[in-house]
Assembly symmetry: C2
DNA sequence: TTTAGACCTTGATAAAAGTCAAAATTTCAA
DNA sequence: TTGAAATTTTGACTTTTATCAAGGTCTAAA
């Protein structure tokens, strides 16, 4: 599980004992494209770390799926609302491509907090990052025109444009496929 | 500072020592309407607990202010992005009415984490609540029609409609004052 | 290689919301 | 209480984006 060493890199310094204890609770997942990490209606079971690949979170409304977020390599992902509240998730998360993931179950994470109080801090920092990403997304969603939202995405997360389909991007940007297509034609 | 005892109620159980230690670091603020808790361009200094009253967070774009969130009695509020990253805040937070607040400085909170590791957990839970509120707001912002967003606000946070001005509510709901006025006329 | 289905683009039209302007109403201090 | 300023509403018109429909294009299985 050597690849998972990068997992703590951007978070915080923890003792060797905590690191080893935490890593021993991780599970490696090799997922094909379209593998579902979390499912709508189920309580989120795991916190995932994307070592390689990418994922998309979405929910369904009126028979179409609406993308909530994209997650790239080096990021943590889960249905956070469900993971926190232990209530059924409204979102489904699936890989956008063949991916290598590490995950820890909610229960094991709680166990970690008890065994290694340092982990509280590490997790707090994950939460903070998650929070900030969400806040940026909210500000982003306030960009009034469809064109501005697209340009902002191009600027901030260009990888998503390569990895996701037009429909996935359009719903993420809160516009129709047609509008996105026209914006692209005009640039 | 007896009113502040309600402060931990919905969070977690902490030991008496931690509670006393934490409370000793709190500062009571009696604020008139329009008192600024945090200012755009400054690094957020405090985490506030609203004991009585309410607050509004907003940023300025093209000479008009855009409301990001409303906070009510019993909630924590700060310019979280700035509070976490220690970079200048893009938002200003002010009271909507005469309010009673308790606040802890960022530095004292960090000190608390060192003195009372239990506080990591309590703060983590505040962060989780903050996160969930933000996520709900994001979903809410995806409600397509202006009318739906207004009805949702009426349903979920009717108090805001009494406390805030039309302009504040309209910018929060991502519509013009005129559109909000017309929606209200039609209901 | 062919071809069905999915995916994407383009066009015409409609609906939603924005802008600008003016009138009505409310608020608050003199 | 009154009048000026601020806030809210209403109206006419414009812009943006959605919807519906029809063509293209790409892709993968036969």
């Amino acid at each position: 599980m050597k690849q998972s060493t990068g997992l703590f890199e951007n978070i915080t310094t923890v003792s060797e004992a905590t690191r080893v204890g935490f890593i021993s609770k991780l599970e490696e997942i090799k997922a094909e494209k379209g593998f579902k990490l979390e499912q709508e209606g189920h309580v989120s079971g795991y916190l995932y770390y994307i070592s390689e690949g990418s994922a998309r979170s979405y929910y369904t409304r009126e028979n179409r799926d609406i993308t909530v977020s994209f997650s790239l390599e080096g990021e943590f992902v889960t249905a956070m609302h469900s993971f926190i509240t232990r209530s059924p998730s409204y979102e489904t998360i699936e890989t956008l491509e063949k991916s290598l993931l590490y995950r820890i179950s909610h229960q094991n994470l709680q166990q970690c907090f008890v065994e290694f109080p340092e982990m509280e801090r590490a997790y707090r920092i994950i939460l903070e990052k998650y929070y900030i990403a969400l806040e940026e997304q909210l500000i982003f969603s306030k960009f009034k025109s469809a064109k501005d939202r697209y340009l902002e995405l191009m600027d901030k997360k260009p990888k998503i444009i390569q990895k996701a389909s037009v429909g996935q991007i359009a719903s993420f940007l809160d516009m129709t496929i047609e509008t996105l297509s026209r914006i692209r034609a005009r640039i």
